[in-house]
Symmetry: C2
Subunit: 188 residues, 2 copies
């Protein structure tokens, strides 16, 4: 790294939560691109992929979702303590899961809630889940027939119904820069 | 890091396999200490702890052991590609699991077989597993009533019945130094 590159070596975990189609995957990828361009090591732990690898046997009950969240936070913590910027993109509907993840990771854990009304998420329906839920193809879809508990203690709220991807990305990167976890963005 | 510190930044996975009480945990801890002292980032993925976190629902059938090995190799790979020296300590009784782990991790994967006769392992019985097997408290103990397939393609074989911990540690560190993955040991 050159002398002007960010000198931040410590990892962290940004835990991005919200309804299906609230923008978690899109935002995590956009932020990852920017962090990598700034020389950071980055891993995205995205709900679907990680679930397929670690928890294919688990369903979507409260208990199973919580077990899965604990597994993800365990991996996130291991990566972060080795200097990786970890972006978790996971619905995380239960407050207890968020608290357990925070407790497991420690001080460098940041909970980011993508606040987006259900109707907006339904109109986007990035993965066709809401449509499949209407036709009976998905049981226990968060926001429809499974709860999403309003986050009690998010470190950052991003209104992804109002902000587009670029603005949301900037919001999160500004947040990290304020905490000296990422280099400040150059003026646009 | 000072100018004389090892400049090796890339991670790798050393997958240490062998019968219960062949010395996997002991060796991985001793090697980890030396690598950390040389400034490396190190994680140990030890069979029991990792199994409790990722696969408490899995048993010890061939299928379950293979699923678990795939999970561990997935985490190991993620850590290694972020510069971490990963030491896996896991019985890994099936050749297919070893091959899957190697294929999953890629070129920087090194399979180390701790070759130790069953009688020697039984006499050590570090965790009391062999004793519990005799009294019916453990089913499917590798080496007793569950197979350990002889490794077909280990990158290194360490005879832990002949070599003590210090000598085994030196053997593995020499192996890594030859591959430029660790700094050469100072003359003893």
């Amino acid at each position: 790294m050159g002398a002007n590159a960010p000198t931040i070596e410590d990892g962290f975990v940004v835990w991005i939560e919200g309804l299906p189609s609230s923008g978690k995957t899109t935002l995590s990828r956009a932020v990852a691109d920017r962090l990598r361009a700034a020389g950071r090591k980055v891993e995205i732990l995205d709900g679907d992929e990680v679930r397929q690898m670690f928890s294919p046997e688990l369903g979507f009950s409260r208990k199973d979702r919580e077990i899965h969240a604990r597994r993800v936070s365990y991996v996130a913590r291991m990566l972060a303590r080795n200097g990786v910027a970890v972006l978790v993109a996971m619905i995380t509907p239960y407050e207890t899961s968020r608290q357990a993840a925070r407790a497991g990771v420690g001080s460098r854990f940041f909970e980011v809630w993508l606040r987006c009304p259900l109707e907006v998420c339904q109109s986007r329906d990035a993965k066709g889940l809401y449509e499949r839920s209407r036709t009976g193809g998905v049981a226990k879809l968060t926001g429809v027939d499974d709860p999403f508990e309003e986050p009690l203690n998010p470190d950052l709220v991003v209104d992804t119904a109002r902000l587009d991807v670029d603005a949301s990305t900037r919001r999160l990167l500004d947040f990290l820069a304020e905490r000296k976890l990422a280099a400040p963005l150059a003026a646009a």
